[in-house]
């Protein structure tokens, strides 16, 4: 049960002092810890005054879902339960969020695909819930390993999509995510993606603020749509869909609402800019003629390749995209000025990020775009593979 009634003006139901997102992310003193992505997600959610979480086990997110359950047992999360399957989970998340609860869930690969209908339902009902997507390959053949093909299925759901590179970013992003998603002029669901195993199960150093502070609670009365009310949207949509009328207004309503959801995602830009400190992060050499455009673990691997290529006297830079929806088109175009070769290393066979990059840069940029290297099915991408791709391009036939 929600414990909103146990709150005071200054503290939440578990006794944590309520603070602003700016204080929690940027000002509160931090200490070093050493933990996995799953463990750090527990730490993030602990500081988010979460009303509700629904879970269903699937590797590699099971540990994270379990740890959020521990938060409930410890009194930090208002309510927590297991759905019958991922479709059930995502439907129940919608129910919780429509009732005005700050809601989080986690899933991976086949679980994401099973729940697919719900993501468009989420954005259409403008609920500001958060899905932590720990990317895993999708069938068949069966795999549990990291492969981010599933993200391509999420691109046009109308949800915001952010991509965290490592354990630290997962902590900071998943906190900022609620804040941005809940802005009255945004108010759409947010999917925070990390690569399964590479982040969820990887243990590394991370800086965390104290755990006696937490975000202010979600205020559903600031929502652009009222929480459950069957006479007005979104409740009205569900009770009495316009499509039943089969008239002009039903088409017009649907069309305009689709635009509005996507406009809302675009309106998140200035907030994401502030809380993420930029929609893209650039590392490497300012005067490089070679750039890697990456998200998630591919950014790590490209940074490793950058360091090795520097030793060979080859300057590169890594342009890490932190938001995928909204797509940071303007920032990317600025970052590739003067670049001759763009490489898009990816952990999937189709190259969905390459397609996004090509679409945004088409007729705006002279650089040659290489969709690769690519690995899939859970394979790792050693820096050596990236270096070989670069050498083949700039020094054809000579090898690395």
């Amino acid at each position: 049960m929600s414990k909103r009634s146990d709150m005071t003006n200054t503290h939440n139901w578990s006794g944590q002092k309520l603070v602003s997102t700016d204080y929690l992310l940027f000002e509160a003193p931090r200490e070093k810890h050493f933990m996995t992505g799953s463990e750090v997600l527990k730490e993030a959610m602990k500081r988010c005054t979460v009303d509700a979480s629904v879970s269903y086990p699937i590797t590699p997110q099971s540990e994270a879902a379990h740890l959020i359950g521990e938060l409930w047992a410890e009194g930090y999360v208002g309510t927590y339960f297991r759905g019958e399957n991922e479709f059930g989970v995502m439907s129940e998340v919608a129910g919780c969020a429509m009732a005005g609860a700050r809601t989080v869930t986690t899933t991976s690969g086949p679980g994401t695909l099973r729940a697919m209908e719900n993501f468009a339902q989420w954005s259409g009902t403008r609920i500001p819930c958060q899905l932590i997507l720990m990317a895993r390959g999708i069938n068949s053949p069966l795999t549990i390993q990291p492969d981010n093909l599933e993200v391509s299925y999420m691109l046009e759901t109308g949800c915001m999509i952010w991509y965290a590179e490592n354990v630290q970013e997962l902590f900071d992003m998943s906190i900022a995510a609620f804040t941005v998603a809940e802005k009255p002029d945004v108010h759409v669901p947010i999917i925070t993606v990390v690569d399964g195993f590479f982040v969820s199960h990887t243990r590394e150093a991370v800086m965390l603020p104290a755990d006696d502070i937490a975000l202010e609670p979600y205020d559903p009365y600031k929502a652009p749509l009222p929480p459950i009310d069957s006479e007005t949207p979104p409740g009205r949509f569900l009770r009495d869909p316009f499509v039943m009328k089969s008239n002009y207004i039903s088409y017009a309503t649907h069309a305009s609402w689709q635009w509005e959801v996507r406009s809302a995602v675009e309106r998140s830009r200035p907030y994401a800019e502030h809380y993420l400190k930029g929609l893209i992060h650039i590392t490497g050499e300012d005067d490089a003629e070679i750039a890697f455009v990456t998200c998630g673990t591919a950014s790590n691997q490209a940074k490793e390749a950058h360091r090795e290529l520097m030793k060979l006297g080859i300057k590169t830079k890594v342009i890490k995209l932190r938001t995928i929806r909204p797509f940071p088109a303007k920032e990317l175009l600025e970052a590739v000025q003067g670049i001759k070769h763009i490489f898009v290393p990816e952990f999937n066979v189709v190259g969905w990020l390459e397609k996004e990059v090509r679409k945004e840069l088409y007729n705006k940029c002279e650089a040659d775009i290489v969709g690769g290297p690519r690995v899939a099915g859970g394979m790792s991408m050693p820096a050596e593979a990236i270096i070989a791709e670069v050498m083949e391009k700039i020094n054809p036939g000579k090898g690395a």
């Binding site: 578990s14 810890h33 050493f34 933990m35 463990e39 602990k46 590797t59 521990e70 047992a73 410890e74 009194g75 930090y76 549990i144 390993q145 990291p146 690569d195 195993f197 590479f198 982040v199 199960h201 990887t202 243990r203 590394e204 150093a205 755990d211 673990t297 790590n300 691997q301 940074k303 490793e304 360091r307 394979m379 790792s380 991408m381 050693p382 820096a383 050596e384």
Partner: protein
């Protein structure tokens, strides 16, 4: 010449604690002042199935993630990794770098002449020892095999101190970080088991420490030199 970072691959079988070993290795290295990252890689979680984990340790930030394809050190936790190919890479030393190290838990020599030549050409040293028997002798249980392997690893590295290893082991078994807030129930359960837990930790520490000393001696005998730079304090 000592490197600024090394990569360690630990193929074992499910249930042996290779994942735990990598986590403790990275935690201990982090405690010592290194940059460190660990991660596991496994298929369906079941006993005796291939299970692999990795640790990366360095004096520079570590970006590399996932499977270690080009390791400096390979630690074989079970003979079946070699004899039955229970690993993600074949042969088990695939990708190993020059001047590296292979530690094999086996009561007999498992390398073919070809293996020996390949490794020797790369100046890779091989330590084969029955660490399972060692664990039984030291801790009274084969479950401490991973502690013996960890001790051997740090004995060979020589730059991570025993107190840091102890910190890594305690961090793993005392789970000091997860307890807080409304965990009173959990705490009381741990307290009841505390005596038993302390004994378990002590036995693990003793096993790791003995394997550490043994490997320091072995390194002198075979001329295995410092592979990783000392941490920058």
């Amino acid at each position: 010449m000592a490197k600024d970072s090394i990569k360690i691959r630990m193929p074992g079988l499910g249930g042996q604690g290779a994942v735990t070993a990598a986590h403790i290795a990275a935690t201990a290295a982090d405690t010592e002042g290194y940059y460190a990252v660990s991660n596991p890689f496994f298929g369906a979680e079941k006993r005796m199935a291939p299970s692999e984990s990795y640790a990366r340790i360095g004096t520079v930030p570590i970006y590399d993630r996932g499977e270690v394809i080009y390791p400096d050190i390979v630690m074989i936790f079970h003979p079946q990794v070699i004899t039955m190919g229970k690993s993600y890479t074949m042969p088990f030393y695939a990708g190993i770098k020059e001047n590296g190290l292979v530690i094999i838990n086996s009561d007999r020599d498992l390398l073919t002449d070809d293996d020996k030549k390949t490794l020797s050409d790369l100046n890779v040293k091989v330590l084969t020892k029955d660490f399972t028997q060692f664990a039984i002798d030291m801790a009274g249980t084969e479950l401490a095999t991973n502690m013996a392997m960890l001790g051997a690893l740090f004995g060979a590295l020589g730059t991570v101190s025993k107190p840091a290893i102890e910190e890594g082991i305690k961090d793993r078994f005392l789970k000091k970080y997860t307890a807080s807030g409304g965990t009173a129930t959990l705490d009381s359960v741990i307290e009841k088991k505390f005596k038993k837990k302390q004994e378990l930790i002590q036995k693990n520490l003793d096993t790791a420490s003995a394997a550490f000393d043994l490997t320091v001696e072995w390194c002198k005998e075979v001329g295995f030199e410092q592979i990783l730079e000392s941490p920058k304090k």
